[in-house]
C-alpha cells in the first residue's frame, strides 16, 4: 500500500484523491464509497496518473474501471440513503428540534436564575447558561448549577444539529416545497399535515391556515374573524408584504406551496417553472403596492 500519492503530506486527507491509501485489491469498497460521497478537494488534479503512480491502479484504464465501479456503487448508495430520508423521518426531526429548543430554553432560564443566586454576574437565557457552563465550580451546589447549564447548552447544540439535518434531508424529501418554503418551513408544513401525501391532498385554503387551528376554531364557532394565514406567515413573501396585501400574498403562496407539495408527492422532481410562477405572482403583488403609493 502506498501512502505517498499526490505529493501531499501523509496526514493531509483534504485535497487528496478519493483513492488515497486504498489498496489495489477491491476490498476497500466501503471506504471508497464513503470517500466519494463525503470527500472534498479544493482543486482537481490528474487523478488517473496519481492513482497509477501511487500503485492504486496498474494503468489509467484499470483506474477508470475501478472509478466506474466505485462511482456507480457510491451513487447508488447515496440515492438510496436520500430516498430513505422520507417524510416520516423529516417529521421526527422537526419535532425533536422543537422539543430540544423548548427544553433548552426552559432549562437555560432555570440554570441562569439559579446561577444568579450563586455567582456575582450572569446573563439570562441561553447566553447566560453558556457562560455559566464554562465556570470552574467549587462545592456541590455550584457543580450542579454549572452542570445543569451545560445540559441546556448541549440541548441547544443538538437543536442546531437537528436543524442542519433538516436542511440536508428536506430537499431530498420534497425538493420543490423545500426550495419554495425553505427547508424548515417545508418540514413544518409536512409535520402539521401529518405527511407529504396528506399535505399534497389538502386544498390550498387549508394549507394557507395550517398552524392556525386555534384561530380557525374560534372563527368557526363565531368568535373571531377567519385567519388569513397560519405558519406560512413566517415566509418572507407574506411577512415582507404590506399588511393590506398579506391576505392575497398568503393565498398566492399557499396555492403554489400546495402545487409544490403535489409535484413532490406525485413526481418527486424539481420543476423550475413552479418557482418562476411564484416569483411572477409576488412581483405582481409588489408592483400593485408600488402603484398604490
Amino acid at each position: 500500500m502506498s501512502d505517498t500519492d499526490a505529493g501531499s503530506g501523509p496526514d493531509d486527507d483534504r485535497d487528496a484523491g478519493w483513492f488515497r491509501g486504498l489498496r489495489s485489491e477491491a476490498d476497500d469498497a466501503d471506504t471508497a464509497h464513503e470517500r466519494i460521497a463525503a470527500g472534498e478537494a479544493a482543486t482537481p488534479r490528474d487523478w488517473p496518473r496519481l492513482a497509477v503512480d501511487s500503485g492504486f491502479a496498474e494503468s489509467a484504464s484499470a483506474y477508470y474501471d475501478r472509478l466506474h465501479e466505485a462511482t456507480t456503487q457510491a451513487t447508488r448508495e447515496a440515492v438510496r440513503e436520500r430516498e430513505r430520508a422520507d417524510d416520516k423521518q423529516l417529521i421526527h426531526t422537526v419535532r425533536a428540534m422543537d422539543d430540544c429548543e423548548r427544553v433548552a430554553n426552559e432549562l437555560a432560564e432555570r440554570a441562569a436564575e439559579w446561577a444568579g443566586s450563586l455567582f456575582e454576574e450572569t446573563d439570562a437565557g441561553l447566553a447566560g447558561a453558556r457562560a455559566v457552563a464554562e465556570r470552574e465550580p467549587s462545592g456541590d451546589l455550584e457543580r450542579r448549577a454549572v452542570s445543569v447549564s451545560a445540559r441546556a447548552v448541549d440541548l441547544a447544540d443538538e437543536r442546531d444539529a437537528l436543524s442542519a439535518t433538516i436542511e440536508r434531508i428536506a430537499p431530498a424529501v420534497a425538493p420543490n416545497l423545500a426550495a419554495m418554503a425553505g427547508p424548515e418551513l417545508a418540514a413544518r408544513l409536512i409535520a402539521l399535515a401529518g405527511g407529504l401525501e396528506p399535505l399534497a391532498k389538502k386544498p390550498s385554503g387549508t394549507v394557507q391556515v395550517l398552524g392556525a387551528e386555534d384561530a380557525l376554531f374560534a372563527h368557526l364557532s363565531g368568535r373571531a374573524p377567519s385567519p388569513k394565514h397560519g405558519i406560512i406567515y413566517t415566509h418572507e413573501f407574506v411577512r415582507g408584504t404590506r399588511p393590506a396585501d398579506r391576505g392575497s400574498a398568503a393565498r398566492a403562496l399557499a396555492g403554489k406551496l400546495t402545487l409544490a407539495a403535489r409535484v413532490d408527492h406525485y413526481a418527486g422532481e424539481y420543476r423550475e417553472q413552479l418557482h418562476a410562477d411564484l416569483r411572477d405572482r409576488m412581483e405582481a403583488i409588489g408592483a400593485r403596492a408600488e402603484a398604490d403609493e
Binding site: 460521497a37 487523478w47 466506474h68 451513487t75 424539481y270 411572477d280
Partner: protein, 212 residues
C-alpha cells in the same frame, strides 16, 4: 457522411427513412435504434439541438468530459458514446436512479450525485484538465455554475453551455438574460460562439467558450 461540426462517433443516419443524429451505444430513453446505432433526439437534448443546428462546439470525439446537470442521462449517454471518460454530475436523487441505468453498460461514464454549485465536493474524484464541460442545469445562477467549474477545464478546453432564460428570470426579455449570463461567463471564459436554440428549445441559448 462527414460533417465538420460533428465529433467522431456522431453521425447522421437514416431511421425509418428519416435522417437523424445518432451515436453507437445501448438505448436509454426509448429512442429508435438501427443495429448498434441509436437516434439522438434534438428535441430532448440541448447538445443534440446544437449539433443539429450546426454549432461548432469544438468537440471532436474521444475527449474527457464533465457533464453538469445529467438528469436521467438522456444527453450524457450520447456524450459517453462518442467521448472518452465522462463524469456526470446530477443533484436530484430520482433522475440519478435512471442515470445509473444509463451508466451501467457504459464503462467510461461515471455518475455522481453532487451539487454543481459546490465543485469542492467532487474535485477529489473529477480529474483536472478535462477537454470539455457540457452544462445543462436549467436553474438560477447557470453562469455562476459554469464559472465555478472552470477549474476542471484544460487551458484550451471547451465549455458547451445551454442557458435557459426562464430559469434566471421569467419576466425579463430572454435577450437581456442572455447578455447577463454572457457577461458573468466572461469572468472566467472567452465566449467563442452563441446560438439561439429556439428551433428545438424555446428561449434557450447555446454558448461555446474557452477559459480565459
Amino acid at each position: 457522411m462527414s460533417d465538420p461540426a460533428l465529433p467522431d462517433g456522431v453521425e447522421r443516419r437514416s431511421f425509418d427513412g428519416e435522417t437523424r443524429l445518432a451515436t453507437r451505444g445501448p438505448p436509454v430513453y426509448g429512442e429508435p435504434t438501427d443495429g448498434e446505432w441509436r437516434a439522438w433526439d434534438p428535441e430532448r437534448s440541448k447538445l443534440g439541438g446544437m449539433f443539429e443546428l450546426g454549432v461548432d462546439t469544438g468537440l471532436t470525439g474521444g475527449e474527457t468530459v464533465v457533464y453538469l446537470g445529467a438528469a436521467a442521462g438522456t444527453t450524457v449517454s450520447h456524450v459517453a458514446d462518442f467521448a472518452g471518460p465522462t463524469y456526470a454530475v446530477e443533484f436530484a436523487p430520482r433522475p440519478t436512479r435512471e442515470l445509473l441505468d444509463a451508466a451501467a453498460p457504459r464503462p467510461r461514464l461515471f455518475p455522481l450525485l453532487k451539487d454543481a454549485r459546490k465543485p469542492d465536493t467532487y474535485a477529489h474524484v473529477v480529474e483536472a484538465d478535462v477537454d470539455a464541460i457540457v452544462q445543462d442545469v436549467a436553474t438560477r445562477g447557470q453562469a455562476t455554475v459554469a464559472v465555478r467549474n472552470a477549474r476542471f477545464l484544460a487551458d484550451d478546453g471547451r465549455l458547451v453551455l445551454s442557458v435557459k432564460a426562464r430559469s434566471e428570470d421569467v419576466t425579463a426579455d430572454p435577450e437581456t438574460v442572455f447578455d447577463d449570463v454572457v457577461s458573468t461567463l466572461e469572468e472566467a471564459y472567452e465566449v467563442l460562439d452563441t446560438a439561439r436554440l429556439d428551433r428545438f428549445h424555446e428561449d434557450h441559448l447555446g454558448v461555446v467558450a474557452t477559459p480565459r
